[in-house]
Symmetry: C2
Subunit: 107 residues, 2 copies
Amino acid sequence: MDIKSAVLQLSSIAQEARLEIFRLLVQAGQDGLSAGNIGETLQIPASTLSFHLKELSHSGLIHSRQVSRYIYYSANYEAMNGLLAYLTENCCAGTKDCAPSSSCKPN
Amino acid sequence: MDIKSAVLQLSSIAQEARLEIFRLLVQAGQDGLSAGNIGETLQIPASTLSFHLKELSHSGLIHSRQVSRYIYYSANYEAMNGLLAYLTENCCAGTKDCAPSSSCKPN
DNA sequence: ACTATGTTTCTATATTTATGGAAATATAGT
DNA sequence: ACTATATTTCCATAAATATAGAAACATAGT
């Protein structure tokens, strides 16, 4: 993980509408949800939603697949975990009290 | 954790200089580093650094304490862990395969 | 071919954010 | 009080981002 990618990914969820979308997809699981479903659930106009979905896709935190007329978006769990790991990397200079990386506690 | 706070925290690290500062402090541990030390390490002009430190403090991801003329900044590990937990909350609708929250894996 | 539905692109506008020099403020040593 | 060092605030400018209507494009059913 390089810093530019991390900033891109963080930027993609550092916005209320997009964070809602992302969390919705994280909770939705592997299959994801269609764009229309997301828009209806979160009450976001189609063009605005499309803009945000593109931002999230571009950062790599979600991906999409087409199923006939619908486009399903789903969380990229691997990318998400990679980002979280990057944030906590070498926490407290690698002191054992800080491990595991998932829950970084100071000495 | 409410979504506004999460967006504020994510925004505060969704910027290259600030993400560098934050990771430096996460790695520095509990004691933290002085503003001058951070600026010198990362080669950031004082006024720019001050602006970024304020953003990070305001979001709650770092805190500061004054030691004579120096101001020491340090990571707020509790806030960081809270943010990470928020992102992975109820991952995959709480399916057991997704646990632990720190490493969210789809079914 | 036509129509309905789902999604994206185009466009303009409004808003927010980043940068760094200069000046101001704070603390400590002499 | 004076000086040096540390940090922040003020300010102007530049750049990036969010919004949503209208139009365009894509897919599938009739």
